[in-house]
Symmetry: C2
Subunit: 208 residues, 2 copies
């Protein structure tokens, strides 16, 4: 029998992993139903019913369908028992929302597509675009400086406990670090490196 | 004396207007401090202190600095008295969060940059890119179909009252409609057209 919670997507996706980490942190059982958006013949036609823009993940809970990762993770936090993953204090909560938006707007493309994919998973026969990697690293550096300022001496990105901001960040950092330049940039920010080290010990990281 | 709330930005910006509409709906007084990111010599250097990525708006409230529009509007709703601008019911709230993310990810660029700017405000001497307008309209159509499905027979985008989703949407629709093709596309979706008509009667629309 299927669980009442279904995630449609592929394990390779940063955004699918954000949702899976959040479900794991919340202690919610779910089924992962495979959808490969990079399949030879394109996004499977039936997926457009669940996600009109053909992206992953999409999500279902007891007949309620949802897409857009940051909406899914907030819903998961609010709909299920378990630890609260959003700070109650107003300004910590605002910082969490800000960091999630910053990750989507300034980190995902340069970390994952400009640096990780180009350096670590270049397409067969494609010429490596060193200028794109360099430009990506430049953007990521600006992002990490801003994030490092916000982290300061704290253990977690927003507030005194891990929040949706931490879980949104870790899959991007995880891929970025697989590029040698990525690892070197992270190592240049010891507080960010220590934060990432803490995230990597969590079952939600180890099991996704 | 300055208000305790400051918005840095320019009236021409969709995202600045989203924040101003939200403040207006909430009944919060604020100062708008001009920052022109399209100035001849680029983003003013002192703005990078408030926004390391050089975008607008940035926001201040009693010593608390914040950027990223969706984080600012949630903070404004939660920090000030006045009508609640986020639904309490879980799934309505999730739909609101989803629509805000959809507007940022699938509507802003095609509505504002591919269609409005190209058709209504083309740069001097620049050749109009009709292919870009056509491709933008195609994307906006997919977005409006999805939004129209979510609206159904409701008055407002998420829940029984206007929410942050409505205020996030209206400045994008307002510019898009200034292009003749944009107005025609909106008119093809009577429920969306009626929703936009309702939004346009609000003081928050009329005063920003």
């Amino acid at each position: 029998m299927r669980s009442s919670v279904i995630v449609y997507g592929a394990a390779y996706s940063v955004y699918v992993r954000i949702v899976r980490i959040t479900l794991q942190e919340k202690g919610v059982a779910y089924d992962l139903v495979p959808v490969d958006v990079f399949a030879e013949h394109g996004v499977p036609a039936d997926h457009f019913v669940r996600h009109p823009f053909g992206r992953i993940p999409s999500f279902e809970h007891d007949g309620f369908s949802l897409y857009e990762t940051s909406a899914i993770t907030r819903y998961v936090d609010e709909a299920f028992p378990g630890p609260a993953l959003q700070p109650v204090e107003l300004r910590e909560r605002a910082r969490m929302n800000q960091i999630i938006a910053m990750l989507d707007n300034y980190a995902y493309l340069p970390m994952v597509w400009d640096v990780y994919v180009q350096r670590v998973e270049p397409r067969e026969g494609e010429r490596l675009d060193e200028a794109r990697i360099a430009s990506g690293l430049h953007k990521v550096r600006a992002f990490i400086i801003a994030l490092s300022d916000m982290l300061g001496g704290q253990q977690w990105l927003a507030g005194s406990r891990p929040s949706l901001a931490d879980f949104h960040a870790v899959p991007m950092f995880d891929l970025f670090e697989k590029a040698p330049e990525g690892a070197a940039l992270i190592a240049a920010f010891p507080q960010i490196e220590a934060w990432l080290g803490r995230m990597k010990t969590r079952p939600s990281y180890l099991m996704t």
